[in-house]
Amino acid sequence: MNDFLTSLSQSWLGSAYAVAWGFPLLETLHFIGLCILFGGLLIIDARILGFARQLPMKPAMSFTSMAVAGFAIAATSGIFMFCSDPLRYVANPVFLAKITLILLAGLNALWFWFGAHGRLASLADGETAASNAKTIAWASLALWTGVIVLGRLIPYVE
């Protein structure tokens, strides 16, 4: 495992520190990705939870593409950051907790897509969403907020 991580850091994937401004650039992209992801989640979750009840659900669903795009930017920049110093990250308990929350958020997203998305698309304006959809929406907000906090704490736990 350690040999694999060391070879990762020596490959082109792990070259962030070798490039001038490489790491700050990755961090900036990571923050931009997280804002795009969170914005996409907020509009959909706000409708499902009844906070923005008059928002038409079907067109609001097109903001899932915003969330997915934000996740792709954050995940790609995150992989490069990880590969720049993998042994340091795998030894960091806050990083491991963050990855756990991301995996849970991924499962929650699958539950949303396969267990709630279809029925939500036919929700009338002002109508209350099903309770399983509300559970998913709360979970997504809680999990991603946790991911943001844990991500921000990584450098303080070493």
Binding site: P24, E27, T28, F31, I32, L34, C35, I36, L37, F38, G39, G40, L41, L42, I43, A46, F51, A52, Q54, L55, P56, P59, A60, S62, F63, S65, M66, D125, T145, I148, V149, G151, R152, L153, Y156
Partner: protein, 149 residues
């Protein structure tokens, strides 16, 4: 500068700098606030650019309230982070640029929402692009304050 120095010497600034989890805690709140404010800012910009085109702007009103809560969160957490190192921040070009971009981004955001509400869709796309660039620029300048002394 003596006012800034006295800010840094105040009991609350000392608490923020020297208590183990205070600074990371405030930074975490600042990151959540950023995600709310910029996230919703980008939602309105993308809506103006055509994403979710059939969504009436009036139905997005609750998101505006949420965005202002995020602004409040980040003005408070930002002030606390600022007074902990007031002299350092105020003389940093990246910090000055970040503040200028945030002021501009907020003004353009309010203009964009008003245009969308009035449904005068003429320049919405140009204004939305400006809004997008200002938000992303503010994040970039904010991140670089950690690197440029």
């Amino acid at each position: 500068m003596s006012f800034l120095a006295s800010l840094e010497g105040s009991a609350i600034a000392v608490l923020i700098r020297e208590t183990m989890w205070t600074y990371p805690g405030i930074i975490s709140v600042h990151a959540i606030g950023m995600a709310i404010v910029v996230g919703i800012g980008l939602v309105f910009a993308l809506r103006a650019l055509g994403l979710g085109g059939r969504i009436p702007i009036s139905s997005m009103d609750p998101l505006l309230k949420l965005a202002w809560i995020g602004v409040g969160l980040n003005v408070c957490s930002g002030l606390l982070l600022f007074i902990a190192d007031a002299r350092k921040f105020l003389t940093m070009p990246t910090f000055q640029i970040k503040l200028a971009l945030l002021v501009a981004a907020t003004i353009v955001f309010v203009m964009l929402v008003r245009r969308l509400e009035a449904n005068r869709s003429g320049n919405d796309k140009a204004l939305a692009m400006i809004s997008l660039v200002l938000w992303l620029g503010a994040i970039t300048a904010g991140r670089l304050t950690a690197y440029i002394k």
